[in-house]
Symmetry: C2
DNA sequence: TCTATATAAGATTAAAAGTGTCCTATTTAA
DNA sequence: TTAAATAGGACACTTTTAATCTTATATAGA
């Protein structure tokens, strides 16, 4: 499991949304410009984030993305796996005759342990943690969320 | 970092050699057949293992591979990284303007921690450990190492 | 010394995954 | 009704991975 560019973009996207607070609407264009992500590529990524319920996508004029969960409840694991699928470190050369019972394999046990550790590490970091630590990103001050103008439904 | 097929093959190859003991010579064909690895692909992998000093490659008739180190001193990390290079979990979208000081990045710190953990886990497992645990592989009894016939130099 | 056996090393190919791009809908605010 | 914004599918390009093929080289043994 190497974090793909799409995964990296997803983390940044959620980080931006988190900086503006749960419920704030941010346009795709703004996020794409800020991080220099191709807008249509970001669209694909956002669709996956929406599929797992992390964000809401608003179509139409003044559309954009809205973070649905509290940043304190969103973990890095969640965002990463929304994009690249459940983390696995090896395939154990699946379907090979030499390794069909991988649950009884010393080598595989090591990979499983490593995988569990990795997932645990990513699961214990929330986006509030990421925002509070100083980082290489500087986000604009969150706008006051004006429910009437944001057009929630 | 997802373990590539080449990496998986390398682990198996070293595991086989370890089962026959340090200094034993095993032909490439034998290992390739045993694990169902394409012989020329195994050749490439073996060359990388030789480059880092793990094995010796004997050319010519009755050639093959010889494990140079004690299996108790060979770690999984060593073998894996010999093939796929030093483990990294993310690229942090290198050279992007938005992330040039990744050492001051909260997100990156998480990845660095995860990476270090992963490497530590792989580093604490030796090939003696792997051999002693029961596994999905059953290796032939190691031949008595006959120095005169094995043709060491 | 000759021959069969075995690997070396480099070039090439094939397949898969990742990273976008483009075009035509569809939705929504005003 | 129109302009702004995203959706969704098809397509293209790039990189990585996984092999394969060919020619060269080394070695054991007759």
């Amino acid at each position: 499991m190497k974090l793909t560019r799409a995964g990296e973009y997803a983390v940044r996207c959620v980080l931006y949304l988190a900086s503006q607070g749960q419920g704030a609407l941010v346009s795709r264009r703004l996020i794409a410009d800020y991080f220099d992500i191709p807008a249509s590529f970001l669209a694909k990524i956002a669709q996956q984030l929406a599929k797992v319920g992390l964000i809401d996508i608003r179509q139409g004029a003044k559309g954009g993305y809205v973070l649905l969960k509290n940043p304190a409840d969103i973990t890095m694991l969640e965002v990463v796996e929304a994009i690249i699928g459940e983390i696995a470190l090896n395939d154990c050369v699946t379907s090979s005759d030499t390794c069909r019972n991988s649950n009884n394999c010393a080598v595989n046990r090591v990979w499983t342990k490593a995988r569990n550790q990795l997932r645990a590490t990513l699961a214990e970091v929330t986006f509030i943690d990421l925002l509070h630590e100083k980082s290489c990103f500087i986000f604009p001050q969150p706008q006051q969320i004006d429910i009437s103008k944001a057009g929630n439904r």
